[in-house]
Amino acid sequence: MSSTTKSKARVSGIGLSTRGLAHHIRRNSLQIGIVAVALLIWTFFFIGAPKTFSRYEIYGAFMSTTPFFALMALPLTLLIIAAEIDLSFTSVMSFGMMVFSIVLERSENVYLAFTACLVAGLLAGLLNGAIVVRFGIPSLVVTLGTQFFWRGVVLVVTAGNGAGLTSTKATILYGALVGRLGNRIPAQMIWTIIIAILVWFFLNRTRLGAHVYLCGDNVESARLMGVNVARVKMLVFAIVGMAAAFAGVVVSMEVLYYWPTLGEGYLLNTLASVFLGGTSVFGGTGTIFGTFVAAFIIGSINAGIVAVGLSGFWTQLIYGLIIVIAVTLQTVLSRRFS
């Protein structure tokens, strides 16, 4: 091979590897953006409070509390990719737990109560889906309504009274849901990982999951190509409802008490996790990995801010900054490598 040819081959090789790199960055720009933000924040916290952030305890705390909303943010990602939204999950958490506490009180069977709770969440999700699909009403409006409705049902039935769950502490379910693996890792963290894997698999390795993307991207083309849009949306609403009920059990069992106000305060953290994770508000794009990482960013900010010596008043300001910077970074990366 002549030197000119060799040189051309080298240039072409460099061109190819650059193209390959650009291709990978473009393909994974959402994930790269969110991981970069997570690393930046962690570095900031680590420099600000090295003693706290070099010890296991702070990470144990994150793993204990972040799953409370990550468990809902992961399936909610599916719904937002499908260009729908659910604002009622915070009330469905409480509705599911209300069913749990009633069944537990009457049957004294924690497993029956747990099953009834999941079924209640599933039905509440299906109701949302049915109204959206059958009547074509925007899910934002429908689920705003059902958010009030289910909270109202809970308050009317319980008269605002909570219920103790100490009787569940000796059960296998308690250990399985909120116990500590090896006395260190909270079980809810394991569940968050399991749910993340299951939701990822559903979205990326099943036909229904592929249809979730299509419904969110171009619903007319999905219909034209034979996708059963109504069935896909109903299914995803049902999954979100059941996940909310599941999260409700996890949160309540952690504190061994069911408060009828359960779920209030989780709405913004959960939605922020989905959007910070790179899921488009218009549907059609988004990743489970992004939501997973973003949930832990959101979950770490409060404790991190206090640890570095700032007052808790800074929390929302930092939340806002991070969301705006992260979303901008993802957009710029995506355009740069398009």
Binding site: N204, T206, A210, Y213, S221, A222, L224, M225, S280, G284
Partner: protein, 257 residues
Amino acid sequence: MDDLLRLTNISKSFGEVRSLQQVNFHVGRNEIVGLLGDNGAGKSTLIKIITGYHQPDPGGEIYFKGQKIDRMTVTRARKLGIESVYQERALADQQSLWRNIFMGRELTNAFGVLDVRRMTQETEKLMTQLMGFTSTAVTPDSRVKHMSGGERQGVAITRALYFHAELLILDEPTMGLSLSETKKALDFVGEIKRAGKAGIFIDHNIFHVYPVADRIVVLDRGRIAGEFSKEQITLEELIAKLHHVAETGRLDEPQAA
């Protein structure tokens, strides 16, 4: 009669609006039918009935290869081999090329799990064999939104061919395309006939339809206003008749199907 598709007495109303009225329409085997008509003439409604997206009003009948189809659905139409090639509407912009090719008909393995690898490989083959993509910038993972009008058309056409369509419906395939891309799209319509398939070519532009169609059907205000085989009429005569139809809603001497 050796028809591939025959529709009889097809009407379709949306509330008070009557989009189609007593339409009789057929496509022969290995025939290209040009469907012409102004906006609101009922072209899209007719196509959506053929593809199972809309159901006709009671009384209308659909036959495919001589067999009566009691209820045409999108899935049924695709199983019969009726494929639509919409330029814009049938592609999901933010999704990859392979997801668009296999949209609604994703390949799975024996366990029902998406076979992403096989779909990517098949797409790569189709890109070189059918779509004529030579640029290394476009890969099976490339998003459709980054492609040109011609490339998008190629994706939609390739999808139809890959799934062995018997009747291809091209809904305004030249809309928004450059001159060279338009030629490519028109060449493809000729390919349908050479491949022994049948096609319905819908367009506003008579200069695009006339050269490639065997027969031309003119729709106006929900009715068949005229039907001509190419031997019967020259392009100039057809243009004159279309002007007349646009003005009066009828031909002076309606011709039988």
